[in-house]
């Protein structure tokens, strides 16, 4: 096993990885940019080192700095989390050269699956169904125009170098093509350091179904069943669940086997996810391999009972596959809601600022993978994900109900979040009936506003504000003195005492 693991990431996923390492007894190194000194991952790691200025290219994407920190502190493995360097074959290759274990697949397979065009070809050869689209990327707008016409509008523009919705745009007509391509290329470069983009047929009303796969370095792989991630806005997943209501056992088995076949075809090892689109006739098409731990991995952990991050570490350390396909079972139902610092009433624009107060939901079947705390400053520099609220329950209706109460119990004051929006999503009749296709949000939630008039607790909120405004509590001098035992405040009083 490893002597020390460097986590080349920040936020909730860095926290998640550090917790796994702690339980495995492996010391951890956190890296942080100058705006992240007070981040949770810095507080939790055994060692923490400044990696650079806030801009990702100078910090969490800065390969030279990260490698030199790992070598200096004698970390023998690096966990990349998701995003940043998680799917960057150049980084993985560098780790391989420097003799540091990259916790993920090898650079060759990463390069293959990370290039959507190459991977589509590989999958096609392996007999895996794919969506019609461009054979390769291009810099020539005319080629895009020709291809788009041939595939037929609407088409979808994707970044060759990565996932997560970055650089991805639906293009309805030739009018929109040129500006979409420019914007997509810029986003792709900024997010992945590679501006290659390509076009694909846009499938109407599909479901996004992905399969979690674990593979060792010796050609053994198992799948841990599906996750349905159809509820997306701007091609970004926001609510995920498992099992999917759209699969029956035979389709589940067939897709699972296809997923394992896809991973084998790419000579891929470690944790990977095979994404499919499922159309209305239950045909499924290979989309891509996500060569990383996914944001939504907790729902699989809860339903299948396997710790995926620990599995990643063990497989990267060279353990043989320790799971058997026929012993893996789904139990109950899990749902994840991503809590973003975004304004759902204003086109989901990211928000930054200080968390003035936060209270986490707790209780049976509730897991909150969280990267923030009261007093934390959400910066503009990084992905606006704050936390992931995950619930497990015996069945889907119970899980949906649990998610609703857990969302109501999550309090974040001082910054706008998607919590109120998500409450409406998980209590929407289409969601409760399992009518979840990737157009769920545009279909049901265009121009969503919080229903101010329907709020039950308006009077109570006003009364709370009035009681606060009433100087009663303060003039009694009770509030601060009785309720706060901060040494800072105590010292403050002591200071005053000294001066008198």
């Amino acid at each position: 096993m490893f002597n020390k693991i460097l986590i080349a990431n920040r936020g909730e996923i860095a926290v998640r990885v550090i917790k796994a390492c702690k339980e495995l007894g492996i010391p951890t190194v956190a890296i942080f940019s100058t705006v992240d000194r007070n981040s949770l991952h810095v507080q939790m790691a055994d060692e923490a080192v400044l990696v650079g200025p806030p801009a990702p290219l100078e910090s969490y994407l800065n390969i030279d700095s990260i490698i030199s920190i790992a070598k200096k502190l004698k970390a023998d493995a690096i966990h990349p989390g998701y995003g940043f360097l998680a799917e960057n074959p150049a980084f993985t290759e560098r780790c391989e050269k420097e003799g540091i274990v990259f916790i993920g697949s090898d650079s060759k397979s990463l390069a293959l699956v990370g290039d959507k065009i190459q991977s589509r070809e590989t999958m096609q050869r392996a007999g895996i169904p794919i969506i019609p689209g461009m054979k390769g990327s291009s810099k020539d707008i005319n080629e895009f125009k020709k291809e788009a016409k041939q595939i037929g509008y609407p088409v979808i523009l994707k970044a060759s170098g990565g996932g997560g919705g970055k650089g991805m745009r639906k293009v309805r007509s030739e009018d929109e093509l040129e500006s979409s391509i420019s914007a997509g290329m810029r986003e792709a470069r900024s997010a992945f350091g590679d501006d290659s983009v390509y076009l694909e047929k846009y499938i109407e009303h599909p479901r996004h179904i992905e399969f979690q796969v674990l593979a060792d370095k010796f050609g053994n792989a198992v799948h841990l069943f599906e996750r349905e991630c159809s509820i997306q806005r701007r091609h970004q997943k926001i609510v995920e669940e498992t099992p999917s209501v759209a699969l029956d056992d035979s389709l589940r088995k067939k897709m699972g086997e296809t997923a394992v076949k896809a991973i084998m075809a790419a000579n891929y090892s470690n944790a990977g996810t095979v994404e499919f689109l499922l159309d209305e006739d239950k045909n499924f098409y290979f989309l891509e391999v996500n060569a990383r731990i996914q944001v939504e991995h907790p729902i699989t952990e809860l339903v299948v009972g396997v710790d995926l991050v620990k599995a990643q570490i063990r497989l990267a350390a060279g353990e043989k596959m320790f799971l058997k396909q026929d012993q893996l079972k789904q139990r109950g139902h899990a749902i994840e809601c991503r809590i973003y610092a975004e304004d759902p009433e204003n086109n989901f624009l990211p928000c930054s600022g200080k968390i003035l107060f936060m209270k986490e939901p707790t209780g049976p079947g509730i897991r909150h993978d969280c990267g923030i705390y009261t007093g934390f400053e959400v910066s503009v520099y990084y992905d606006p994900i704050l936390s992931k609220l995950v619930v497990w329950a015996e069945d889907r209706p119970t899980a949906a109900r649990r998610m609703l109460t857990a969302l109501s119990d999550l309090t974040v004051l001082g910054i706008k979040t998607t919590t109120g929006f998500l409450k409406d999503v998980v209590s929407h009749s289409d969601f409760l009936e399992g009518k979840t296709t990737t157009d769920f949000i545009p279909r049901n939630f265009t121009d969503w506003k919080e229903k101010e008039d329907n709020k039950k607790y308006l009077n109570q909120a006003l009364i709370a504000a009035a009681i606060m405004s009433q100087n009663k509590f303060v003039s009694k001098g009770q509030a601060v003195e009785q309720e706060s035992y901060s040494p800072w405040q105590a010292l403050g009083k002591w200071e005053i005492g000294m001066r008198n």
Partner: protein
């Protein structure tokens, strides 16, 4: 004592009398008897005629941010409001004839130059924040009067990026 609050455009007046932790409150002609306990410096536990509730509150810029059972409220205190500056407001457009960004970020592209005539909804500027690009569009048909930033600049909320002259 009387308090006046605003939520969005609506004004609310409350009369409040207190004795220890007991409060008598009048709101919209209704009277409430309340037992209120300070649970932490950001939380109050209420009992209103047996109904139990916990409110979480924080204060910033003369506003109370309140959350009760997952419902959020932003309550302004009009008398305090006056003493605050207007920083942090979402001044996208409108009367002021300029466009600004609703969140701090970096200008990655300025698509127009001074003197250009622009259509309604034409993209003027692209601001990148948190790895997403946001197009800032012209709210009206107009002529570009002034550009206060260049590509690569960091820009804060409310700062006029492009100033416009409306076309009739």
């Amino acid at each position: 004592m009387e308090h006046e609050f605003k939520i969005q455009d609506k004004t609310y007046k409350l009369k409040i009398e207190s004795k220890g932790n007991s409060y008598k409150i009048e709101l919209d002609g209704k009277r409430y008897d309340i037992d209120a306990e300070l649970i932490s410096s950001n939380s109050i536990s209420f009992l209103m005629d047996g109904q139990a509730l916990t409110a979480h509150l924080a204060e910033r810029d003369g506003k109370f941010l309140v959350n009760i059972n997952g419902e959020s409220f932003c309550i302004e205190k009009p008398e305090e409001k006056k003493r605050k500056n207007f920083a942090g407001e979402h001044t996208h457009v409108g009367e002021k004839n300029f466009v600004s960004t609703p969140m701090p970020g970096k200008i990655v592209k300025i698509s127009v130059k001074v003197g250009d005539e622009v259509r309604k909804n034409q993209t003027l500027v692209i601001v990148e924040a948190m790895k997403m690009e946001n197009e800032i569009k012209s709210p009206i048909p107009a002529k570009v009067k002034k550009i206060n930033f260049k590509e690569g600049d960091l820009v804060d909320t409310g700062q006029p990026i492009v100033e416009l002259e409306p076309k009739e």
